[in-house]
């Protein structure tokens, strides 16, 4: 139930922030009666109501079942198949952040390192982060993976990928 409370609280704050931003949208003579702010405001209000509903339900459940804290969170997985990751004491959140950082670093690095090497680095780093061993095999897979992806996207599909500071192909 702590989770539902936290979610409800976050969403309530988000709806307030979104409402504030929506209210700041400038009006224009070209606008209609509903206006550019109209539906965003409605969405924000609805989200606020839904968040409050979640908080109230969570609080009520908490008062109803004070003795079984752990069991209340064990709800069946929903139709989207969401599986809450287990948060361990050693905080895997760092690993999650690292995973995210790989992508962010890719965005920063790709424009000058070029697609092939950047994407190979992403593969290598991700293998490591997902628990794979860093070795010759991982290196070989990363490099050949980079080449295959480069062939697939740049050569075959002709999708422009970040070229990097390399002289263009002859």
């Amino acid at each position: 139930m702590h989770r539902d409370l936290a979610l409800g609280g976050t969403m309530l704050a988000l709806s307030a922030g979104y409402y504030w931003m929506a209210a700041a949208i400038p009006t224009s003579q070209l606008a209609d009666a509903v206006g550019p702010q109209g539906l965003p405001r409605v969405y924000a209000l609805l989200l606020g109501v839904v968040s409050l509903a979640l908080i109230v339900t969570a609080l009520r459940k908490r008062t109803q079942m004070p003795t079984t804290p752990g069991a209340s969170d064990a709800r069946p997985t929903d139709s989207a198949g969401s599986r809450p990751p287990v948060i361990r004491p050693t905080s895997p959140l760092w690993r999650v952040a690292g995973m995210l950082a790989i992508g962010v670093v890719y965005i920063l690095v790709a424009p000058w390192l070029g697609y092939l090497f950047s994407i190979a680095a992403v593969i290598l780093a991700t293998v490591y982060y997902q628990g794979g061993a860093l070795g010759r095999q991982a290196g070989a897979v990363a490099l050949s993976g980079g080449i295959v992806l480069w062939l697939l996207f740049v050569v075959l599909m002709r999708v422009a990928q970040p070229p990097g500071w390399w002289p263009p192909l002859p």
Binding site: P26, T27, S28, Q29, L30, L151, V155, L156, R158, P168, L169, P170
Partner: protein, 315 residues
Amino acid sequence: MTSWKTYLCALALATCATACDRSNESAAVVRLVTHSSPGGGSDVFLREMAPHLSRIMGRTFVVDNLQGGSGARAIAALVGAEPDGRMFYATTPTFVYTSLLSRPAARYTDLDPLVNLFFDPEVLYTASDSGFESLSDVIDHARSGGGAWGAANPASLERQVMEQLKLKAGVAAAVITFEGGGAMLINVLNHTLDMGVGELQELRSQLDAGTLRLLAVVGDDRLPQYPDVQTVKEQGIDLAVRKFRGLAGPRGLPADVIAAWETAIPILLDDPEYRKIYIANGLQPGFMPHAEYVEFMDTFGRDTEAFLRDTGVIE
């Protein structure tokens, strides 16, 4: 198992083939950049022009689609390029609107207009069975209290046309905007809208089939394809816009590059083979040399900014 291995071999061969093909592109090509996606207005314009221009100017032209940010990305790429005559941008009113609406770092004023090639005539049209025979019918209907007019995009030259028409005719019709001309066309055909404004090209099939009727040309002259259709001005309302199609380059284009284009474009526009194509697409030749185009763009920018400011779209 053999089937997929064979397939992979074929794929590898195809890969090699395209790679070799690609390496043939010489370094001395001219890149024509557009913000429109493949198949979009400016893309078709550039790709149809490229081979004919190539014949006249003796250079290779490559069309590059730099989509995204409603033109902001393409303009940014141009602003960052060397003014060596190897990269140009296909100008349309969109690039002025985007610069004014979102104030990106690189704006249309950071580019140097090169030459203009065409005008895309904007026309007012209605459904053949709508009961409106002329523009004044539509305006009279609006005056008597109704009236719904359509424009393809919320902040565009077409919207500007409709808003100004409203203002100048002194009526309070509702102007409905869409995302692109297709949805608007449906609403004209099913009489939800009294009339719409658009480019000739997107209406041609319906015009040929007789399901649409042209009411007026929003330009200075009548169209050679439809000599009977009057301009808005001829119908007593002082309104004309010019949707341009031209080229612009990075600031500081060398004089010889400008001169080469100023010589080539009139020859291109007179080329009988190319003429057939652009007439079919409903484009009107509208060559403007460099000096004139710079001035034109300046005026167009100022007028558009004034419109957007007056209506409160921008502050």
